[in-house]
Symmetry: C2
Subunit: 408 residues, 2 copies
Amino acid sequence: MAKITKTSPLAPAAFPDLPAIDGARFATVAAGVRYQGRTDVLLAVLDPGTSVAGVFTRSATRAAPVLDCQNKIGGASDGPAAILVNSGNANAFTGHYGQASVAEVTQAVSAATGVAVDRVFTSSTGVIGEPMPHDRIVAQLETLKAGLDRHALEDAARAIMTTDTFPKGASAQVEIDGKTVSISGIAKGSGMVAPDMATMLVYIFTDAQIEQSALQAMLGAQTDRTFNCITVDSDTSTSDTLLLCATGASGVDASGNAAFAEALEGVMLDLAQQVVRDGEGATKFVEIRVTGAASDADAKVHGLAIANSPLVKTAVAGEDPNWGRVVMAIGKSGAAADRDLLSISFGDILVAEKGWVSPDYREEDTAAYMKNQDLVIAVDLGLGDGQSTVWTCDLTHGYIEINADYRS
Amino acid sequence: MAKITKTSPLAPAAFPDLPAIDGARFATVAAGVRYQGRTDVLLAVLDPGTSVAGVFTRSATRAAPVLDCQNKIGGASDGPAAILVNSGNANAFTGHYGQASVAEVTQAVSAATGVAVDRVFTSSTGVIGEPMPHDRIVAQLETLKAGLDRHALEDAARAIMTTDTFPKGASAQVEIDGKTVSISGIAKGSGMVAPDMATMLVYIFTDAQIEQSALQAMLGAQTDRTFNCITVDSDTSTSDTLLLCATGASGVDASGNAAFAEALEGVMLDLAQQVVRDGEGATKFVEIRVTGAASDADAKVHGLAIANSPLVKTAVAGEDPNWGRVVMAIGKSGAAADRDLLSISFGDILVAEKGWVSPDYREEDTAAYMKNQDLVIAVDLGLGDGQSTVWTCDLTHGYIEINADYRS
């Protein structure tokens, strides 16, 4: 396994105070799935009437728990619901045995909690290709059930960590019709993935009342602007899962409410950016703003080409304002670009324009700017109104250490 | 600039003896474009009747010399031809000034050699965004012309190097109609690109006689199976150029000759693999064989997804038989895959099959295999007859040192 690493230099100062969500309770336990001396299983139980929406990895080699969740999302939402997450074993690429493990766990959760099995969602993250010791999880279900608590969100965030160097949480509250509606979310992830360690898992809870199909539509659109706009290393997990649960306990119908949608997107973006800030080996957080593209889709293609370029990422690590590598990444992205209409800025400093370096450019200015921990690279294509913003981190010796050196 | 690095551990023992090509002469000089104490300009002059074919980067931000070459390829081929290559400055992203530099150089070459300007091809590799000091090149043209020599191919390979740690050459000879036809080629490249240092340039010469359109068609097809099947870091240069020149001096018409086509493809593959073997920081050479895909195109998509995955590449660097990361890369590639039909081998060792680890798999076997310098990762999708082989190297601390540390 990977070395124990220090907390990311980009981590927030502390885990935030997350408001409890009426209708949602949490419990964690140290089941010894793989790790010793830490919690590794989370159970969440959601009151009857909770709508559950989900988005999942598009990988063609998805893990068994993901396939099971996808089958269940969109089903009846009358009774209670449950989510069980374990770290230490991803139950991925485990053949038919993996599906049997999911069945064992979901049936046991159903028996322990009274939640119908088609409302029991599971996620697993950790090593792949090894049989899941599901008995260790099943053996803890009564303990978990007894420990369910509205206020255990930080414990929940810790139990699902693998190579994460800090637990991730975010929240928002909005007033609707004179009542307060709360949103609290947790996440884990530190590479975009390493299938044996760093899958991205996200669970967001709100006491708003929203019908499942509306919740699912909102989640899909907002994921495209948040979790689908981050990248650490361009690799995609076989287990990525995001579940959004609306308990309705506030009695406030937030369907179509713009303030609620904005607050939810803020929580999602906050969690997404925390995943980047915990990127394996990351020392810089980089926002890439693309404007002037032929379309929003083209802008995102350019943004991700820049964000995923090993040469751009190593230049950032080296505090080198190497705008030539940004030009290269735009050129290779496959989306429309005209070399002679392109402009590139680092922070507020215009670096290149009209196919060449800006006449006012002084490298010492950008060299000083690159010493910042949080950086903005802005590209205007000069072609149209398309725009997109994506977030990434640098590529450092730390990434190599975490992913290559752990056996040497 | 990058640190001076030691010769790649994957380098061939020595530069090969390349047969001289009748009708092709070479000269190099130290013009001081950027580097001191080494040659940095190559002039090749080709006898009248030479066919010139070319393939180029598809980057949308192509450098001025590439655009000029593309305009000229396919034109009349009666008179002599010339190629001028400089290292040290890529003349890329230099706006209208860059086009003016190309015009200055090509006209001066034309004046010095008597080659029509529309038969003068140029390439530039080195830093980007800086004005090309073309006067330094123009000032050396008489010296270059006086030094033209049939036997200067190794000098030519050295003059075009940037961050390469060894010069690259390959050759073949075939008997056609009782006569010997020769092919000799040189290349440079060590990242797939770093626009300020490591563009891939390739020049191949043969004394076979082949009409330009046939030569161009053959080159395109063979590039798809050779240079388009290698990757170091997934980044693509704004200057990549491959020129193939058939002087016809042997008097042998090789159009449609299968033995010639095979020999040429062998030279191209040898040069392409040498570029991978000089990959920045490389310590392992990896062949990825994909079979059983729904189509050849799908097989190549899977192969390049595996070859470009930072997590696969770091696992190889760490001598870790991490087949889970191969599963992940296949899953994310976007091409068709069925988790439960997939099989994966490292060398001759079957690692995973039918959606799970092979029952006979013993990790100590693959761990021992991964200590080899040259590795084969074989994937069978179990879906159809599509196949493709691609080549890559590992991702190491050396890559980070070359691309991130050079300013620190």
